[in-house]
Each structure stands twice: as C-alpha cells, then as structure tokens.
Symmetry: C2
Subunit: 122 residues, 2 copies
DNA sequence: TTAATACATGAACAGTTATTCATATGTTGA
DNA sequence: TCAACATATGAATAACTGTTCATGTATTAA
C-alpha cells in the first residue's frame, strides 16, 4: 500500500493527473529492464535478422545456407549473426570449417510467431 | 509436395546444402510479411516507446501524463505516439484539449509481456 | 606447406532514427 | 476576442545501423 500523497514528486500543476502518474510510475518497468527488452525487440526489428531467425526456427543452418536463404552476402549475414549471438538469441556449433546456427530457445520462436500472427490479424 | 530437384535454383557448388536451402526457402516468410513483422518489432525496440507502451498496457493516459511517466519532453512523446498510431499499436480519444491514449489491442500487451519474460529468464 | 574453403571482422559509407527547438493547431474559459 | 493550455508537427542535428569491401583466421585436403 503506497501513500501517493507523499510518494509522488510530480503531483502538481497543469494538465497532469497526479493519481494516474503515480500509479503508472508505481508499476513502470525499470530503465534497465526496458533497455534489455527493447534491445531484444530491436534485434527482431530488422528484416534480414527476422528472416534469419525465422529460418532458424525451422531448422539448423550453416552460415552460407542462411546467406542463400535470405539472399544476402555472407559478410552481411555474419555481422547479423554476431549481434544475434551477442544477445543469445542464437547458438552455434562448429563442425569442421562450418558453423551451424540454431535458435537458443523456443521462447524466441514463440515471440516470432506471435509477431507474425499480430500482423496477420491487422 | 514439392519436387526439390526441379524447384530449387541454388542447388549446386561449394558448401551449400541444397536440401536445407530448398526446405528453408519453402517455408520462409515472404518479404512483405517479414517487412511488416520487423516494422512492428522495431517499434517495440526503443526504450522510450517500450516504456510508453508498457505504461499504456496498465491504463489509459493523456500525453502529458505519459511524458511525466517516461520522463521525456512532450514533443518527443508526441513524435513517438505518432509512430505508434501509424502502426495501430495505440489508439486515442480526444476529450476537450486532451488526448487519451491506450493500447489498440491486448495482442500488443501480450507481446510486451513475453518480451519482458524473455529477458527475465536469461 | 600450400591452396582452397567457411566464416569472422574492421573500416567506411549511406541511410535511418530519436531528440530538441520553434512554431502551428485546436480547445477552453474569461 | 483573447490568453492560456494540450497536443502536433516540421526542420535540424547528432547518434546509430546495416551493408559492402577488403582482409584475417581457422580448417581441410592435396
């Protein structure tokens, strides 16, 4: 139970609705969490990466196969894979000179699917 | 049933794995869909917008309340709201000189929640 | 060892994006 | 009609992002 009269430091003046603001602040996500979540969504927010992730959600692929599927240069794909690796959205295993990529968990696959469903129902 | 021997136009040379590529191409999302989905995720991929959407997922808020909650200028918030409006992630209703914003559907709220849960389990 | 292959990476560049500032629009109450 | 207020928006700018090109590393086979 929070005493909003005391808790809230922006509860005066103009159009602002103290109660709303205080309540909203009370259950806002932290800056750090917002940052992390945004970072994840940002990675999903690029056509190339989205196609890569979608392809990987179906099967494990090596880099040059990914490049063939998304029709991009190997370098461009490698750069994107580095970002995806960095945020643990994908994992990889080496086999000789090849590297096989796959999604790191099905959580991602589920997010992806939900995004697709969203645009299909709009 | 697809005849991959005939269907696939990139099934030769180097490291590429014809079967994988052809299968992946077969169930790839279209460029247009990928574009749309990416666009949605891109909107979720910014800290300011994410905070706005998260706040709106709890309750309807007017512009200056949003500005107070996310601690941004009114102008910055308005600009972001325009983007969110444009992709129908939020809806609004006017009441006198104020405008009240809320999420357009709970689909968004659910995506948001899933994103938050993702980073909490990593 | 050497050449070929698969992948990674740094630098550079072009395109995009988020914020700020100034100003415009529209509503309300005096 | 005017002043105050809530919101929207155009322009400018700084920061960021994605691709390409050149090159580097590691692995394999000859």
């Amino acid at each position: 139970m929070i005493d909003f009269e005391r808790e809230c430091d922006v509860c005066e003046e103009l159009c602002e609705h103290p109660q709303n603001i205080c309540l909203a602040k009370a259950d806002a996500i932290s800056d750090e969490e917002a940052q992390l979540v945004a970072e994840t969504f940002k990675l999903l927010g690029d056509t190339t990466r989205l196609k890569i992730l979608h392809a990987l959600s179906k099967r494990e692929l090596c880099v040059c196969d990914i490049a063939a599927v998304v029709q991009m240069g190997q370098s461009a794909v490698s750069h994107q894979l580095r970002l995806l690796r960095g945020s643990r959205l994908v994992k990889y295993r080496k086999e000789g000179k090849m590297v096989w990529y796959s999604l790191d968990d099905e959580h991602i696959s589920s997010l992806l699917q939900q995004g697709i469903e969203h645009i299909r129902h709009t």
